[in-house]
Amino acid sequence: MHYRIIILFTLLLIPVSALFSQQLSFTSYTSANGLSQNSGYCMAQDGQGYLWMGTQDGLNKFNGKNIITFYKENTRRGNLTDNFIRTLLYDSLNNWLWIGTSSGLCIYNCRADSFYNATHYFPAADTLNGLMIRSIVAGRTPEEILVLTYSEGLFICNTKQRLHRQFFQQPHTKNNTEAAVVWNNEIAVVANRQLFFIKDSAEMILADSRLDDVRKLFVWQQKLWAASTKSGVMVIDSSARPAIRLFNAGSSDVGTFAVDKNNHLWIGTRNAGIAIIEPGQFNVMHSFTDAANQNEWPQKFTLSLFKDRQNNMWTGSSGGGFAVNNGKKNDFALIQKKELQYGKAAHNMILSIYKAPGNLLYEGTQLEGMRIYDLATDRTISVINPGGASANSVYSITASSPASIWVASVAGLYNFNSTLKKFTHYVDSSMLTSITGQYVYKLKGRDSLLYSSYHGAVFFDLKNKKFRVFKYQDDRGKQVNLVVHNALEDAKGNIWLGCVGYGLVRYNITTHAIEIIDAVKAFSKTVNALFDDNGVLWAGTTDGLIAYDIASGKILHTFSAANGLPGNVIYSIEKDAQGNFWCGTNVGLLKIDPRTNKIIQVKASAGLQADEFNTACSDADDSGNLYFGGINGVTFFNPSAFSVDKFSPEPLIESFKIANKEIDLDEAVSYRGTIELNHSQNFITLQYGVNNFLNHDECQYKYRLKNVDADWVFSGNRSFVNYSGLTPGEYKFQLQSSNSNGIWSNGIKELTIIIYPAWWQTWWFRLIVLFSAIALLIVAVANTISGIRYKAAIKQKMVETEMAALKAQMNPHFMFNCINSIDAFIQTNDKYNATLYLNKFAKLIRNVLDSSKQNLVNFSKDIDTLKLYLELELLRNENKFSVQLDIADEVANSDYKVPPLIIQPFVENAIVHGLRNKEGNAGKLEIVISKTATHIVYTITDNGIGRLAAQQLKTGKDSSYGITMSYERIKLLNEEETAAVIFTDLYNDDGAAGTHVIVNLKIK
């Protein structure tokens, strides 16, 4: 896509060898590359490094890769007043791009990403509206901008005060204000062919300064250079002596000037291309009018010249668009066969090289035999085919003596006598391993070659010219088939082999023991190249580069794609005089500094044969030149002359899309530090780029979204990334780019992306939910606990009540009185009664003790206890009353369980309070026990003195403790709020006639 023109300079100030001749090349950008139009009128570079290119039809914004064109119809924000862009100036103070069109002055605010009519910033300058702008020039101070018009003279705009002043308003100057420049801190203006100076708002004409139709004024070497349409270049040495002299730039029609990084003046002509002048000499160093190269420079009509921030020189031409010169192809020399031979296309697949002492380089090719190249004359001096088609692919070349060259070819091993130019073929048909040669190596100090084929390695004895079988057992006795790519001998005489399938192998030539280096094999099983760096073996593998310390057996370094190596396949290794390793790879040449781990990548664009090199196809000579063969010839160079492109600007984020729709920001996304999104805007696309105009295709990127990407993602030259399903939170996107030499930018572009949670995702909402949940949990737990506690309390209460009840039933007063009664029988020698009641008492005590262990007892047993109690009460009270116990059969015969002695307190109450206090012996106690569907009903009726009278008789102490306990127990048993006990006071004609108590017990 790039139209390249090679320009060879004949007049070079610095002498260089013919091998590394200086070249200039241009890469051009035309409508074929997306430029809006091919008239390259003007250029400017903004603060972020975008190159703006004005044409007759549209304004172009270029980052080295993509061109975006602005027309007056399609600006995203604001308006371009016209599509004919005549002049551009970047104003770094305001970050504005000044745009002079054929119809008005526009200002593009870079940060706001918006076009404004100049009157937006200079409200009083409405005379500018619709004017054709001639040029825009930087003023004396950063805030001063000079705008020249075709019909209204000069406008001096002060961007700080937002004011302007108009100059050259005279009828003869108004339409003829031609050019302006700041010279010696004064504004020099050509108007009406006169040179003026503006001093304190006055326009002063310099005497003797008639100029001829000036297009442009320029200051170089303290002199004022004027580009004339008729007289070419006119030079004014000083304003004190304003003599004008003509400078012959090879054309009388000159339009523009620029100065390059070497302070050479570039002069753009309208009919003779570019002339370049060396400082001090004031003569044309090079002109495209030279007959030798005039035809190579088709763009004679130069409209504009511009130097960008990385010192590239740009030209804009009429019809040729824009072109950039970069002088980066001078470091590498190339050996390629270009001529056609026997009607075949040139074939430059180089499989092996051997640099012989002197000027000769042996190249082993694929299919075309061996070539011998003379570096001194830059010519291939002979092409030799060892014989037969299969012999013409030469995989390896070495020498056993200056005249004896050994060649491993597909047809086997050949010796080439360089003096006699004669080949000798050595093959042992009994040995499969002797053919399909891959590699040949001359053992140091031994008359032997190591030779490897596709089938394995053998030795070749140079004295008797016989193949000798290689020991194939490893130290574990295993048969090993070693196909060797590369070999070398260390200081102790061990042979190190770079093998296929086994990685790095050590062969002890005296013991014949083979040792596979497991640590290297774990890294890679295929070693292509070896280099012994003072006891450290560097092995180039298909998985990267590894350094193995022979003495300690330790791995010292590994380089692979995982830690930033541009590619994993290392074909060859050489070391330069500066201590750097150079590796031929499948992604160009890599320069690796093992001290700093710094990696520089050199790609084909720098002048290499190609990006792809070949296995173990490299060599070095005594002068320090390195040779690498690959798929398209041999690249050779002197590393000391190699210069690295250090310019590596920080990348930019160019576009931010949400669900493939550009985000609507109030400024250019490249200026944004933070982007805030809502929870649904979580599918984002970031497009990024770097403003590098040197080999932009080879610039690489790495990025990471912190907390999403585990590590840096190396994206190569892909310039976008998508992220989807981002959860709310704060993210930091980091971006870094490298230039074509693999130098990473110093700066890391960072963009903070904040995705706000939806209200239900917010921390406060979650907190509320959390607190609510906790509160609910607490309530639930509290309820459960209180439930458990309540149950435990009930149970405890039951137990306590039972105990207390039993205590109450075993009313000590009653007990001791009973015993006292029995004592009375004893004292009166009434043995029968003493024994009778003692037994009854004993039974009662036993029953009470038994039931004290149980919450519920059998109904019948409980009645037995009650009966015993009644009998003892009758004994105590000397039959003061009679008892009638009436139990319904269905209850008596039931197996109901009842709380022990639950009605005893009511019975006792009836006896102690009702009946004992009654006069006479007519007391009656009637106990009736029946049942309803759900309850056992106890009815206790006495004809005692009644509750009221009993209350009055009651002595201090509360005797109804047992009753109280029974109430509690009944409540608990029946699970009722109030005890199911009904007291009824009985009355007859004489008043109180006893008490009637009904107790209802739920059947259990």
């Binding site: 009653f814 006292n820 004592d823 009375a824 105590r876 009270n877 002595t955 102490k957």
Partner: protein, 247 residues
Amino acid sequence: MQTAIIIDDEAKGRLALKEKLKSYCPEIALVAEASNGKEGIEAIALHHPQVVFLDIEMPGMNGFEMLNNLPDKNFHIIFTTAYDQYAIRAIKYAAFDYLLKPVDIEELRLAIQKISLLPVHQTKNQVDLLTQNINHPRKLLNKLAIPTLDGLFFYDINDIIYLEANSNYTTLFFNNNTKIVASKTLKDFEELLGDDIFFRSHHSYIINLNYIKRYIRGDGGQVELHNGTCLEISRRKKEEFLKIIGY
């Protein structure tokens, strides 16, 4: 020979005691029996007994009420009761003797021996004290009859600052800077006074917790009382003491 009557509502109770007196206490001449308070008053008025065995629990008028209804109380009283912890404590506070039913013969004999040594004139004061204690609205026993070699003395227990053991006797120190020597052991007092406001702080002391001025730390520590007396706290009582005073 001392005359006696038995007042008990239970016939069997009267019978048992009567038979025991007859068999084992020849020095007692039982002159009458009564089955309730009313009969008791009549019997006392009629017979002027020297000793009254009085049951507390009786229907109608109980033993204490009966005593209050008597104009003169110039007789010894031995209370009989089957079981009544509260009443027994009150009786003890008044320094009356009591018997638990069924009556132990040895205790019966001892009680009869003891009363023969005591003067009868204190009975009224003792009954008054008993009544006061019984009728205390919150059932607190405040009044204490303290037997000494010089006879009974009546004190409010809240006036006691501390008690000090003195072999079989106990010296009581009061808040009016007086002291008396009681013919009871410190252990007797410990039982009698309980642990509401008194604390056995030492083998030799019971202190009234209301009179503690401060605690002085030490092995067991010392306690200074309101009258300036410093008393040792025994080491094994220290923890309990500190807990009680809320240290």
